[in-house]
């Protein structure tokens, strides 16, 4: 893969959003991925609705949590995603008010990505931002810089937060992943989290996935 890549300067990433007091990170991770896929396949960057997933994805648990793999399936079953403006975010479970006529994007499938970080970087550079899930150890107090917790403290098996890989590179020879979080721009580096790349830090490579749009 190229030595560095960043989909933010290629127009494939919407502004950082804020999930509020709700465990809906899974919805933001998936909409972020689908936004990127739709941009790369159709050339239009749309900000898509997480609230639709909270309300209408009956497999997942809205603010109590959910899984990207379930969410992709729900988007296919529902028939697509509305935009953020049409189905705006409330941060709590409401009655599903999805209307197929208003859906602006659809997906055809979803895939699981490699756990090899080199291959993951290559896939990202070619195909767009990637939905992942990590162990959020230390993120409550993260301010800036490249995070690299000791492995026992940030076990790859205690995944508890879904986010979006938007790029990768090196800062003074330290390899990093650039990660779009959903805790607002007043957290981390303007809403972004930088995590060490190449060591499986915090399970960054364990649950990588993407929607597929034909």
């Amino acid at each position: 893969p190229p030595p560095q890549w960043d989909w933010r300067n290629k127009g494939a990433v919407t502004n950082v959003k804020d999930q509020g007091m709700c465990g809906s990170c899974w919805a933001f991770s998936v909409t972020g991925n689908v936004e990127g896929q739709w941009f790369l396949k159709r050339g239009t960057l749309l900000s898509l609705s997480e609230q639709e997933l909270l309300d209408c994805d009956k497999t997942d648990k809205a603010c109590l949590g959910g899984l990207p793999s379930n969410a992709y399936s729900a988007i296919r079953t529902l028939g697509g995603l509305e935009t953020e403006d049409d189905y705006s975010y409330r941060g709590r479970l409401q009655t599903c008010s999805f209307s197929a006529e208003k859906a602006k994007v659809y997906i055809n499938d979803s895939v699981e990505l490699s756990k090899n970080e080199q291959k993951l970087a290559a896939w990202l550079a070619k195909n767009g931002p990637v939905s992942i899930a990590i162990n959020a150890f230390g993120m409550q107090f993260y301010r800036h810089g490249i995070s690299h917790p000791l492995r026992p403290l940030c076990s790859p098996w205690l995944i508890d937060h879904a986010v979006l890989l938007v790029g990768y590179g090196n800062r003074s020879a330290i390899p990093f992943w650039a990660i779009k979080n959903s805790w607002g721009t007043d957290w981390g580096e303007e809403g972004y989290y930088y995590l060490h790349r190449g060591s499986g830090a915090c399970g960054v490579n364990i649950m990588a996935s993407s929607a597929v749009i034909n």
């Binding site: 190229p2 949590g65 979803s110 917790p149 937060h161």
Partner: protein
């Protein structure tokens, strides 16, 4: 226990129980915070030391707390008639304002120790009640580096209060009551300790410290913002992506 405290800045000294009452009561209040009546723990025996801290005092308390019987089967997995906990608290008292800096509790097995007391409970020499050197180092020096110097800095709690005040202003925090504010300040102080430990153990270039989540306990943060399903639920199977041959 000597009743007359030595001069400020001297080492800690044992206290007579009446002097412990206030800090112990505050620690119990913080421990029972958010609990409905009838579910609150009661204070058993208390012993402790005090160390002068600027204009206030830093109490290191060892106390037993007695949890009420657990009547609600949905709440307790293991029905326990009564449970005795052995707790250590650090309470900072400055001009009558208390702040809980540290709380560690663990069950004392009443069956093995008999009559609900650890052996040698009241003997000052009991290992249970000495602040172990690594205890002391871990809590005071890692978070409060200035504490290593005797006497404690004059403005320690002023400094903490001012950092907390900045936090409240920066993130536009409001609290319903003075009690809530003091509870949140003690959570904030605790979180500063946690952040510094995470900082000390990070091998990257990340900086940890005050964020907008700094007044939330770990439990609150985890419950509100994180997603336990990710590690618990298997999720749907997805086919593997085609490997990338040319980027």
């Amino acid at each position: 226990a000597s009743s007359k405290p030595p001069a400020a800045g001297a080492q800690a000294w044992e206290l007579a129980s009446p002097e412990l009452r206030e800090p112990a009561r505050f620690a119990l209040e913080m421990y029972n915070r958010g609990r409905a009546a009838g579910t609150r723990a009661a204070l058993g025996a208390v012993r402790g030391r005090v160390r002068r801290a600027g204009r206030g005092s830093l109490y290191s308390l060892k106390a037993t707390l007695v949890e009420p019987p657990c009547n609600d089967p949905t709440v307790c997995q293991l029905p326990v008639s009564k449970k005795t906990l052995l707790c250590s608290f650090e309470v900072l008292d400055e001009l009558g304002k208390h702040m809980l800096l540290r709380r560690d509790c663990g069950p004392v097995d009443t069956k093995t120790t008999g009559a609900g007391r650890a052996p040698g409970w009241f003997s000052p020499a009991s290992p249970l009640f000495q602040l172990s050197p690594d205890d002391r180092n871990e809590t005071f020096s890692s978070f409060l580096p200035l504490l290593n110097k005797d006497p404690l800095p004059q403005d320690f709690s002023v400094k903490m209060a001012s950092i907390f005040k900045d936090f409240v202003t920066t993130y536009n925090r409001t609290y319903d009551s003075q009690e809530e504010a003091s509870w949140r300040m003690s959570v904030f102080a605790n979180n500063m300790v946690r952040a510094q430990k995470i900082q000390a153990l990070d091998r990257g270039t990340a900086r940890y410290g005050v964020t907008k989540f700094s007044d939330l306990t770990e439990e609150e943060f985890r419950t509100i913002y994180l997603n336990p399903l990710l590690k618990d639920a298997p999720g749907r199977n997805m086919r593997p992506a085609q490997p990338v041959t040319d980027v």
